[in-house]
Symmetry: C2
Subunit: 362 residues, 2 copies
């Protein structure tokens, strides 16, 4: 491939659209006629205002969202949101519901508990090694919010549809599947997504918060830990992570203008994931690790007959220009992360390789 690039199946940081990378590269010494790099321009300039405002406008259009929602850019990744959410939204006597579908949900619960907040774990798939998404969850009607992880990057599960909570605002960690397809934003009080999987580079978290949730933010929090600080200053109370926001803007432009929006993106993602699951389902050599109704469109996890074969598979794949196929260090096996930016050609190259590898080693 161009410049000896590989097909990148990393779980995050992950592949970015090639045309986005090329645009960054081409303008890197002189951004938008400024005579400066995007890394050198002032965040108080018209240039950067245009970048951040365009990123917000595109987010609104892509998610079909009105201005009761604020789009914020906050540093610290999803992990910082694990503490900011309970700090901002849960007061003395309040409780929140959490659904535990794996490592990231577990961490979100832990950080709320460190703060001494009252957390109800209303459902968990820990009993079957997080291989499924729970159903018929008994949400509490008096919970301030109900927290879910929309896609489990590590295990390869994803909510096929979002749960009914009886009016309690949903909060979702969408780090690994935001913008993978359309969904109804109106169910949500807050959505957050570390950018480095589906919408940009590491170093910024997109937070979408409904206006009424901002009213819960206490004055007693430090400025940098309050959602109201970001909402009132267009995420520029202090210097934002300009390069990361700029990259998000370009990814969203690509989603709108090259892909043609989230309906089309979802269709492509279904085709891509479908090809991989089909190889698994028609083989005794590759086996999926997740219940079929909980399979992720973004992270396709699978095992081979033994660990030696898995090691050989990952090695030979890399020799064939297919990188990042090793499963998460906590679970082993193989994982193909196929976010929006992973092209269909990459999946075709991978399925071809899988079939060949099975023929030789099966």
């Amino acid at each position: 491939m161009k410049e000896n690039r590989i097909y990148n199946f990393n779980a995050g940081p992950a592949a970015l659209p090639l045309e986005v990378l090329e645009e960054i590269k081409d303008s890197f010494l002189n951004f938008a006629g400024s005579g400066m790099s995007i890394t050198e321009i002032s965040h108080r300039s018209k240039w950067f205002d245009d970048v951040i405002n365009d990123a917000i406008a595109r987010t609104r259009r892509l998610l079909n969202m009105d201005d009761t929602f604020h789009v914020l850019f906050i540093q610290g990744g999803a992990s910082m949101q694990f503490c900011m959410i309970p700090m901002n939204l849960l007061h003395e006597g309040d409780t929140a519901d959490y659904v535990n579908t794996g490592t990231w949900s577990t961490k979100a619960i832990k950080e709320a508990e460190i703060l001494g907040k009252t957390v109800n774990v209303v459902a968990s798939s820990e009993d079957e090694n997080y291989s499924y998404i729970p159903k018929d969850i008994p949400f509490n009607s008096n919970a301030i919010y109900a927290h879910i992880t929309s896609n489990n990057t590590i295990k390869g599960t994803q909510w096929a549809s979002f749960p009914e909570t009886g009016g309690v605002p949903l909060i979702a960690d969408m780090s690994s599947d935001i913008m993978c397809g359309p969904f109804d934003v109106d169910k949500f009080g807050l959505i957050y997504a570390g950018a480095q999987k589906n919408i940009g580079p590491a170093g910024v978290c997109m937070v979408i918060i409904r206006d009424d949730m901002l009213k819960r933010v206490p004055d007693t929090l430090p400025s940098m830990l309050k959602y109201t600080t970001y909402a009132s200053k267009n995420s520029m109370f202090n210097t934002p992570p300009c390069f990361a926001v700029y990259t998000i803007q370009l990814v969203l432009k690509w989603l709108e203008e090259t892909i043609g929006g989230l309906d089309k993106m979802e269709a492509i993602n279904r085709e891509k994931a479908g090809l991989l699951y089909k190889v698994m389902d028609s083989s005794d050599f590759y086996s999926g690790t997740v219940k079929p109704d909980s399979r992720s469109l973004m992270n396709v996890t699978f095992r081979l007959p033994d660990e030696d074969l898995e090691k050989l598979f990952i090695e030979q794949a890399l020799e064939n220009g297919l990188g990042g196929l090793k499963g998460h260090r906590s679970v082993g096996g193989c994982r193909a992360s196929i976010y929006n930016a992973t092209p269909l050609a990459a999946i075709e190259a991978l399925t071809d390789f899988m079939k060949n590898f099975e023929q030789k080693n099966g």
Copy 2:
């Protein structure tokens, strides 16, 4: 100039060394033979380990620092440190000293107070519009730390030497002058610097913390707000801002290998600032705004006879390829930020322009 670049006198985000920008550009589609962009590689890869470990090693060498100090990369800028420092270091009954030399010190004090901590403002230059650095400061011997802002970006003041505190660990916000020259790190318990002025792009803060300070960190803080989390995980408890850390690594390489270390950097900085202050001191047209013994090597602030002339100066300077000379919106006037990456040629172009402008308009 190359690719129609301008001379960039912005206060932050600010100029980066051209050879750093060129290296980023040249390798942007394929970093270190990985077949991926630096924005696409896993932070759990050997490639990124090499980046972050080299950045840390270079920081140690440049600042002549042994391993009683930890070098951390934390998101949220210096503003996040304003709250993290008191959260981590001040317990019930503890007090800290702060010296107020302007906007950023004032914000640091405010965030500690929001947290209900006991802060002693032991000196302030507010009485003369922050135009000087206080002397003979009565530090409290029982303070847990003494906090200063080493350089005031907005007003253009800088500590010529660091104060004696009688053994109380200094903490300094060095966002706008870290690495401008050598200094004795052993006086400090903690040093922090938002990268976007002197060492990199926006989106990461370098924190240097002495080992004994880590012992003060309480278990009751959320993981992302504890220094111990970053120290124990080499700043990779969660995904770090990889691109920003990489850019810092390249800037530090440039400092060591192209410039030749901090002694040489300081000599260059003194020459650069000297040229500008000389123009002011030999003119009735340009006037400095800061007491001579408190002048900054990094941010040179000055006024013209009236605001109309200042507006014209800034406009015509930009037409001549000299950008970012407007003073901070809170103070007006003119400001040339001349961080490490601003070449001597930029200063010469600016002083030539200043002399010409005075001749025509003086």
